[in-house]
């Protein structure tokens, strides 16, 4: 019985998480049963394809380098110095991780677009529609991947490793560069690769800022090809997808190899606080540095969104121009708004429940199967997580169309995409929880006369509650504002908040402030949920 259930689970995983990519590869590479060299030749000799590949490498590579330079001093300040208010600083600087990047892009367009950017009167040379602008906005979002990895690693180091260096005569900077940094290098590289992976897969920022600047990346080129709606266009977008997939795969394998190559045991037996460098006179400079950075990274963008949402006429800077007119228009006079909010809510709720449910049973099944089967299961779960969202959507469209499943242009296919993409979060969190539960707790319940269902209901669920909640929230939040996948899967009547904001910003009413109103709404929801999650899990999850 257990075995059958497990294989059924594996079958579902294969169908949703693996098959679509095999199908994608097969259908684009073969024509009438022969490998289609011609289309590959055409794709790779096309100037557009090559330029998008080059741009992706340049933009994402620079983003990762700048992100590293930004994250290292932050991680040091937050874990190794006596700077006051560490908790609040950390939350502020990690928060962009939870905010959808396209909202940041919109904020920076309000702030620094070359025609009526809010900052132009002070800095007239600003132009967000440029290579520098694109890299800048990417950096202020994707640095969080590196920062979060670094913070975790730096907290795990046995403090006596650093104390031994201090006894040996090393000053704070020498300790950092000779001991701490080498020890966290594996985590740093892993964070850099993760940031690179997310950057090459991102769509919102490249579409909103890159397109306007005439800089096409692979993801935006795929969507452009796909929008051509011709057979060749579809083929070209498919082949570019496969190339992006290959690039992502290379990065993923690299990360795997590196994390295996360097594995120092850093974890200490006893809980000890690292000794903190006293900043002394330099403390006020550090606080000034953090404050300025927080203004640029956080306060200015959020302020810009609020400002634009309140501006009756965009670009007119006067107090009389402020009002709730836009809110009124968007929430009371636009039917699409409520449809989009409803759709996003249903999708996020559905994905959160579905992922948590499957995450639980997939983790539990790990106990009753052999190691190789478990490895295969985990690989299946990880694949859609690693695959760029654009590619995932394209594969799902093709698969459902060819299997004649009545899913195309429904919420169902969007839900399927979210499920595949975010299942990895749920699985890892719930698995972490389950592995912390001692088997004797379960045995004791059985001895006391509880059946399987009672053990599930009275023991597992209450013990795992914080993990299940974290799993739900951590799927709900990104799903609620998802754009990259949804933009390809949506159809008339199926818009989500993400696609509605995107459409308003991209095509329609840039002057009406509608995008800003909705972006502000999404920000409130996400920051609020983050707070609930942090309180409900006593700070273990949430930023």
């Amino acid at each position: 019985m257990k075995k059958i259930a497990l294989y059924f689970l594996l079958f579902i995983l294969f169908a949703v998480c693996v098959y679509p990519f095999l199908f994608l590869g097969e259908s684009f590479s073969f024509e009438n049963g022969h490998f289609d060299w011609a289309i590959y030749k055409r794709a790779f000799s096309s100037a557009m394809t090559l330029r998008s590949f080059n741009n992706t490498i340049i933009v994402c590579g620079s983003t990762v380098i700048l992100s590293t330079l930004l994250s290292l001093p932050l991680a040091w300040l937050f874990t190794r110095t006596d700077i006051p208010g560490k908790g609040i600083w950390r939350t502020i600087f990690c928060l962009p991780y939870a905010i959808p990047p396209f909202i940041g892009a919109i904020a920076w367009i309000y702030l620094a677009n070359p025609s009526n950017g809010i900052l132009l009167p002070i800095f007239p040379w600003l132009n967000i529609y440029s290579m520098t602008g694109l890299i800048f906005v990417m950096t202020v979002f994707f640095y969080t991947y590196i920062l979060i990895n670094l913070l975790t690693a730096m907290e795990k180091i046995d403090p006596s490793l650093e104390e031994a260096a201090r006894i040996s005569g090393a000053g704070s900077l020498q300790v950092f560069f000779r001991i701490t940094l080498p020890l966290v290098t594996p985590s740093l590289i892993s964070g850099m690769l993760l940031a690179f992976l997310s950057a090459i897969a991102s769509f919102g920022i490249p579409a909103l800022i890159g397109n306007a600047a005439g800089i096409t990346l692979m993801t935006t080129q795929i969507v452009l090809f796909q929008k051509m709606a011709s057979y060749t266009g579809l083929k070209l977008s498919g082949i570019l997808s496969l190339s992006l997939l290959a690039l992502a795969l290379v990065v993923f394998i690299l990360d795997y190899l590196i994390s295996r190559r360097f594995r120092f045991s850093l974890v200490t037996g006893k809980v000890a606080r690292p000794s903190l460098t006293e900043l002394g006179d330099k403390k006020k400079w550090a606080i000034l540095f953090l404050t300025l950075l927080a203004i640029v990274l956080f306060i200015l963008p959020v302020g810009a969104i609020l400002y634009a949402a309140l501006s009756r006429v965009q670009g007119e800077h006067a107090l009389a121009n402020m009002g709730l007119q836009n809110f009124h228009n968007i929430f009371l006079k636009t039917d699409e708004t409520w449809r989009a909010v409803k759709n996003s809510f249903i999708l996020a709720l559905g994905a959160g429940v579905l992922c948590t449910f499957f995450g639980y049973f997939l983790s539990q099944s790990g106990k009753s199967v052999s190691k190789p089967v478990n490895k295969i299961k985990e690989a299946f779960i990880a694949i859609p997580y690693a695959v760029p969202g654009t590619v995932l959507s394209l594969a799902l469209i093709l698969t459902t169309l060819s299997l004649k499943l009545p899913l195309y242009n429904t919420l169902g296919i969007i839900l399927l995409a979210y499920f595949a993409k975010f299942l990895n979060f749920s699985y890892r969190i719930v698995n972490d929880g389950i592995s912390q539960v001692d088997q004797s707790l379960i045995d004791a319940a059985h001895v006391a006369g509880a059946g399987s269902f009672q053990v599930f209901w009275r023991i597992w669920i209450p013990i795992l509650r914080p993990f299940l909640m974290a799993s739900f929230f951590l799927v709900f939040m990104p799903a609620f504002s998802e754009l990259t996948m949804t933009v390809l899967l949506t159809g008339p009547g199926n818009e989500s908040i993400g696609t509605l904001i995107f459409q308003m910003q991209e095509y329609g009413d840039a002057s009406g402030g509608g995008a800003a109103v909705l972006a502000f709404f999404v920000l409130l929801v996400i920051i609020g949920m983050n707070l609930i999650l942090k309180l409900a899990t006593k700070g273990k999850y949430g930023l």
Binding site: I167, S168, G169, A170, P182, L183, T185, S265
Partner: protein
């Protein structure tokens, strides 16, 4: 080598008084153990000497130098105290080979390369690790790693060698040999040593004098014979028997 002296030293975390106004003097070249149950303040005292913690009040001297006196806002940072320390967890840096681990204090002191090479090989021979200098730490046994830590503590001829429960992670047989070896090396250099332990056998077999502590106070400070013959109170009598 140097003497170490505490004058009316207190240490508290928030409202928690860890060390209660203690004073003592360790003579130049002496081997002293801080002995007591966990939470008695022995490790805190050691970390105050090292400068890894700051005392809340009182004076700490190493040799002729006043190294900490909060009342005068005086505090010499750890890196400038010229000490050696052996940690309970060994604290061998996993990304450096044995040679680089041991050479680190000399590199920080900007010694010339040939002198570094000579000193490191010498001290490695002394701790019976000659020929292993190119190995990485994860290829060594726990006992060998402990010897690397000892070599690193000795290599720069520190004013005082601090040892924080260095043998507690070793098995009984190895522990006995290390006890003898550490004592021999200490006598060889006539080095001031402070040895923190909760194991009274260790303390009694190695030390010139023993300082017995409980709840942030010094109960008794004397030679092993002294303490055996005249335990200061009931607690000491029970603790050493």
């Amino acid at each position: 080598m140097s003497a170490v002296e505490f004058k009316n030293v207190s240490k508290s975390y928030q409202d928690n008084l860890i060390l209660k106004n203690i004073s003592f003097k360790i003579n130049d070249g002496e081997f002293v153990s801080f002995l007591g149950p966990s939470g008695c303040g022995k490790t805190t005292s050691l970390r105050l000497v090292a400068g890894l913690e700051k005392n809340t009040s009182g004076e700490i001297h190493i040799g002729d130098e006043l190294i900490s006196q909060p009342e005068k806002n005086l505090f010499v940072p750890t890196k400038d105290r010229r000490l050696g320390m052996v940690f309970q967890s060994y604290a061998i840096w996993p990304h450096m080979n044995i040679f680089e681990n041991v050479a680190f204090p000399l590199r920080m002191a900007k010694k010339p390369e040939d002198e570094i090479r000579k000193s490191v090989e010498e001290v490695l021979k002394l701790v019976e690790l000659g020929g292993l200098s190119a190995r990485m730490p994860d290829t060594l046994s726990g006992g060998q790693q402990q010897r690397v830590a000892l070599a690193r503590g000795l290599v720069a001829r520190p004013r005082v060698l601090l040892l924080d429960e260095p043998l507690s992670n070793l098995d009984a047989k190895l522990r006995e040999k290390m006890r003898k070896d550490i004592r021999e090396i200490q006598q060889h250099f006539k080095m001031t040593c402070i040895y923190v332990t909760h194991d009274q056998v260790e303390a009694f077999s190695m030390s010139d004098r023993i300082m017995i502590m409980e709840k942030g106070n010094i109960l008794q400070f004397g030679t092993p014979q002294d303490i055996r013959a005249n335990p200061a109170n009931e607690f000491v009598r029970n603790f050493i028997s």
